[in-house]
């Protein structure tokens, strides 16, 4: 299998202005040296708390945000080196689904225009067969083509999210960045959307980056899972492996926090102390050490390196290796 997207040492620092004459007083290290691959037909889940940089990573993989440094190779081309023209040519092959189905659709466009506009611009359809093509895409995401002339506010949240997916699929992309696509939806609707995404992936072998803070959702959908903490990936493994033998203390905490269906089943609760530290001034050494139940002396000074525990199971923690 060949990787569709290769992310290498991606960094994004947001400058913080302050003081007299508003000079740069610091940097928010939103994303700090993140690397991963996504293969054809594969879903990589990306989980983490709010503010850990998941969304920033997602948007950088399709260059909606410029990276501070690092590479994002899409089908072998580094997105950040492309000229505007080259980028326009690549964009149709990578698309995004947004978290909020209310702000992601233009309130003044009909569904036909929302889904069809890019098709017209990229010559996937012409004025004659636009209706037909938009209808096809709408059917694909489980919406009736009768809805074509309606406006977004006439739909429910789940239907709007389907329209958002239809827009992303309109250009027949090879890679889909799903930025928390189900977080804003009811649980029953979540399941529908997840099943829809799975069915679409089986049908088209599209690659997906699935960003979520909900480990249950990610577990259900993704082949591999990466756990992010404060701008860094702390653990990455095939999903079944991560469920069985999670290695990083942060992943333990995440897994323990997940609600269990069976009330008799005992869960070991791993309490996390305190809040997520500010990415403006991250802790020294391992970023997780102030909250880690297993913290050792060296965690405070030395940042851990990625080690491979088993095939495809990477973890960045001083408990292992070295």
């Amino acid at each position: 299998m060949k990787p569709v997207l290769q992310v290498r040492a991606l960094k994004k620092f947001f400058p913080v202005y302050g003081g007299f004459l508003s000079h740069v007083v610091g940097q928010v290290r939103a994303v700090d040296e993140v690397s991963f691959d996504i293969f054809e037909g594969e879903t990589l889940g990306l989980v983490g708390e709010s503010g850990c940089g998941k969304t920033t990573v997602g948007r950088m993989t399709i260059r909606l945000i410029e990276a501070t440094s690092g590479q994002a190779l899409f089908e072998g081309q580094d997105l950040f080196q492309l000229s505007p023209q080259e980028l326009s040519a690549v964009r149709p092959r990578m698309q995004i689904i947004f978290q909020d189905p209310y702000s992601s659709l233009n309130p003044r466009f009909t569904v036909e225009r929302i889904v069809g506009e890019a098709m017209l611009i990229h010559n996937r359809a012409n004025r004659m067969n636009l209706k037909e093509k938009v209808g096809e895409v709408l059917e694909k995401v489980g919406l009736s083509s009768r809805y074509m002339k309606r406006y977004p506010h006439e739909f429910s949240g789940g239907q709007r999210q389907r329209i958002g997916i239809a827009r992303a699929l309109a250009l027949d992309p090879r890679y889909l960045a799903c930025d928390e696509p189900v977080s804003a939806l009811d649980v029953s609707i979540q399941a529908q959307i997840i099943n829809l995404l799975q069915a679409l992936q089986e049908e088209t072998r599209i690659s997906m980056l699935f960003i979520s803070h909900d480990l249950n959702v990610v577990r259900h959908l993704s082949h591999r899972t990466a756990v992010m903490y404060l701008g860094k990936i702390v653990e990455m493994a095939p999903t079944p492996v991560l469920n069985r033998e999670a290695a990083h203390p942060y992943t333990w905490a995440l897994l323990a926090a997940k609600p269990e269906l069976d009330p008799k089943k005992k869960t070991v609760h791993v309490p996390l102390k305190g809040d997520v530290p500010s990415p403006l001034n991250p802790p020294s050494g391992c970023h997780f050490h102030p909250r880690c139940p297993e913290a050792m002396e060296q965690c405070k000074t030395r940042p851990p390196r990625m080690v491979e525990l088993s095939k495809g199971h990477f973890v960045s923690c001083h408990l292992y290796g070295d």
């Binding site: 909606l64 964009r91 947004f98 209310y102 702000s103 506009e117 611009i121 250009l171």
Partner: protein, 283 residues
């Protein structure tokens, strides 16, 4: 809304301008108060006003004030709408640029700084004196006045549109359009402007009122539309010399301006209320 209807009705009536002749001079009939009948012995049949009475009296040359007011309606409203139209075009264009390309750099300044500081400079000028200066240099016809009023009143619109664009730019549907490589001019003018235009339209109705006022003041000072063409401003200006002998010459255009400006202001308020709940629902 009904008041706006009245204003538009006034404009329609100016098409009947041939019926109410504003230019006929009847020296024997000057300074007749409103509703006075015409004197059949002194004025020939074809110069007689409709129905034989001067609805709003006559002025110092015996011209029918009602007919002149109707002619002035067309001028004043045209000036109002076209001047505001120009200011919206310019304002949306600059506001859009500043809002969308804000952080881009030209030399050592950002686009945003460049445009917004220019707006500040324009706002620093006392607008009315700027208009006076320009009008003094240019031939004082109605088109120059429209253009000058338009080009000195776009700054508010620019600020509005920029503010709207700053919040729209980070909305997901704009990001989606970017991710689909939709051309930037389309994103700005087809995706974003329609979503930013509501507050601009509200301020435009108030702008129409102030443009009418500006035109009236210019005509009042004699820099506006030149006689014999009538506007509300120059009827008022001509009338002020006779305010004790023929007070209707001052009060009629004065109150008309007052009511129309009030109507547009109320209309703007109404629009603001009409747009807001819609915006909250995300329509």
């Amino acid at each position: 809304m009904a008041l706006l209807g009245l204003a538009i009705l006034g404009k329609f009536l100016t098409h009947a301008i041939v019926v109410f002749d504003p230019v006929t001079v009847r020296l024997s009939e000057k300074f007749l108060p409103p509703l006075s009948p015409y004197n059949a012995e002194m004025v020939s049949r074809e110069d007689a006003p409709i129905a034989g009475i001067y609805l709003l009296g006559t002025d110092e040359l015996g011209r029918d004030v009602f007919a002149r007011m109707l002619e002035g309606t067309s001028v004043s409203l045209t000036v109002g709408f076209i001047a505001v139209g120009i200011s919206i075009l310019v304002g949306v264009f600059f506001g859009g640029l500043a809002g969308y390309y804000g952080p881009r750099k030209i030399l050592f300044l950002t686009v945003d700084t460049l445009i917004m500081r220019f707006v500040d400079i324009m706002l620093c000028f006392p607008t009315f004196f700027l208009i006076l200066t320009v009008v003094a240099l240019l031939p004082p016809n109605i088109y120059n006045i429209m253009i000058v009023i338009g080009l000195t009143s776009w700054m508010g619109t620019t600020r509005f549109v920029r503010a709207e664009f700053l919040s729209l730019r980070d909305q997901d549907f704009v990001q989606a359009a970017r991710s689909q490589a939709i051309p930037e001019w389309r994103i700005i003018f087809i995706h974003m402007v329609p979503n930013a235009i509501a507050p601009v339209l509200v301020s435009a109705t108030i702008g129409v009122a102030s443009a009418i006022l500006t035109e009236s003041s210019l005509s009042f000072l004699g820099f506006g539309v030149q006689p014999p063409d009538a506007t509300w401003g120059n009827i008022l200006a001509d009338g002020k010399q006779f305010i004790f002998d023929a007070p209707w010459l001052t009060f009629i255009p004065g109150f008309t301006i007052l009511f129309v400006v009030l109507a547009f202001n109320l209309c703007g308020e109404g629009l603001r209320e009409a747009f807001n709940p819609k915006l909250r629902e995300g329509v």
